[in-house]
Amino acid sequence: MIARLLLGLAAAALVPAIFALLPLLHLAPNRLVTGTPISAGEVLGPWFWPVEGLSALGITLLAACRGRVGSAVAAGACAAAVTLLLIGLGSGADTALAGQPPASRARLAAGAWIGLILLSAALPPAARRAGLPGGGLVAGAGLGALLTILFASGSLDGLSLAREVRSRRDVLGRAILDHLTLTLGALLLALLVTVLLGLWRRGRGAIDLGVSGVQVVPAIALFGGLVAAGSAVLNALPALRGYGLSALGTGPALVGIAAYLLLPLWRGLEAALRAPDAESLDAARALGLSPRQILTDLRLPLGAAILVGGLRVASVQALGLATLGALVGAGGLGTLVFDGMAQFAPDLILLGALPMIALSLAAETGLRAVEAAARRRWPR
């Protein structure tokens, strides 16, 4: 009881402490320098006390309370705190920028990031504990909708990240599309190879050695090696260039990403095929089921959850590796990240990184839900 009380008190002090210690915004004369810090009281103005109170309430309830009602109140308080914090940051940025030259920027500082991450991380567990079906997914979708509405209404426009989004809308959309294409392409390629490898039952030992060996090679080395090898082949056989083949671009990126996805997919397939126990298999054979029927009626349904688990790990890996694909000229969100690194422009790096992280988290939680559904549908 006392431990829980102490935990609750510590949680209540968390957000106020962060706001007291760290600035919420940096006001900079242009998009490349850090600028001067602005504290929470100054940025949030009238929103300061509501945000502090709501976040303290939400996080304390989440830490100290296990019941459904308490958790629902916690979720509501955290959601309200995030909303008010975002609105406050937007209007605070507008105030700070008033009367400044047009090149000046109001950039989110450490306090704002930590506060936003804490409050949004508190939402999914609170929603789940409150008994909301698919709590994590609903909370994530709600946050996305909130950001979209606030962004479209223009109340975030003072923030430098929102400006960067507005000025590069087309590039960003294109990059997200390329990123998804690259990810899905690599996943499909790896799935195809995995199924083909799965058919070769006698080479299982060699395949296992091969797919785990690939994991040892650093990703950047594999990409570099593929490009170097590709250019050597093209130099030896220049005629191949006529078919549109090139040492740089989507080709090596697809092959490189897919190579790393083989391990989770292969392990998933192997474990899924072994999912039914020996007695079930014997019973199925005794009933006169053909090997094909055993595969479709027994092995695949029982192994479905494991298969989806492999797919989940592979998808998150593919989304991350696709970022590195920009290095070999395959496009995607990595382009924005690397441009931002070259220009030393933090907002541009974030513009590439945030959608990438959001996509990974969406893939992780989405496929985790599918995995759980498959486990419920076909219990072992």
Binding site: L222, G224, V227, A229
Partner: protein, 237 residues
């Protein structure tokens, strides 16, 4: 000898890849038009790479292993379920992105690389440590307690020796991860074996690129072989 059999493949592969990164051999594949890195420069980069990866490995193994030890003590049993979820969520931010995000804060060079290593490596190390310690049969722990060993003695004399193989396996994963993230650190200006790859992609020097790629892969395989051999030594026959 059979203890070391699993290490032989990676060892041979590492030696072959390492030899392949020699300028004379890499030029055969990459074409003579480009200027290869001298063996001296390659060694310098490799040593730097090894130092940075080793530092990161120490950081990851220390923090991840320590947290894993704490998480497996009886009074923290309630936290174990969230470790897997947290570990999975931490993988959503790939090392490239951590390096990129750390760049404006920490500047060029080693620090962003080390931060990326910590951010990306600690959760897998923690999960591996927990899995290794949980593989210790509960009867062994009970028996040790029954003959009057203190919790510290149970840990040192029963749990750690029984979990040793799993712990070395965790270290192996962490090492491979460290070498890979350190290579990515070249993007933030750290002088590692990733540097010739990144530079080679920019100025189309495919020989230097091939050398960097082969050498960093060789380092990963050699370290892998070393830790596989260590795991073999610890195995109980």
């Amino acid at each position: 000898m059979s203890r070391f059999a699993p290490a032989l493949g990676p060892l041979l592969l590492g030696i072959v890849l390492g030899l392949g990164s020699h300028p004379a051999l890499a030029s055969l594949v990459g074409g003579a038009a480009h200027r290869p890195l001298t063996p001296g420069r390659l060694t310098e980069l490799a040593l730097n790479h090894l130092a940075l990866a080793g530092g990161g490995l120490a950081l990851v193994a220390g923090i991840g292993g320590g947290l894993g030890l704490i998480a497996t003590r009886a009074r923290f049993a309630a936290w174990r379920g969230s470790i897997d979820t947290l570990a999975a969520l931490a993988q959503a931010v790939p090392p490239v992105v951590v390096v990129a995000l750390a760049l404006p804060v920490l500047g060029f060079g080693g620090p962003p690389t080390l931060l990326a290593l910590a951010a990306y490596g600690i959760m897998p190390a923690l999960r591996g440590t927990v899995a290794a310690l949980e593989s210790v049969p509960p009867e062994a722990r009970e028996a040790a307690r029954a003959i009057g060993l203190t919790p510290g003695q149970v840990l040192r004399q029963v749990e750690l020796p029984l979990a040793a193989q799993g712990l070395v396996e965790t270290l192996r994963t962490a090492f491979v991860l460290s070498v890979a993230v350190t290579a990515v650190g070249a993007l933030a200006g750290a002088a590692t074996l990733g540097t010739p790859i990144v530079a080679g992609l920019q100025n189309q020097n495919f020989v230097a690129m091939l050398q960097g790629a082969l050498a960093s892969a060789a380092m990963a395989f050699l370290g892998d072989a070393l830790l596989l051999a260590a795991g073999g030594l610890l195995r109980r026959e």
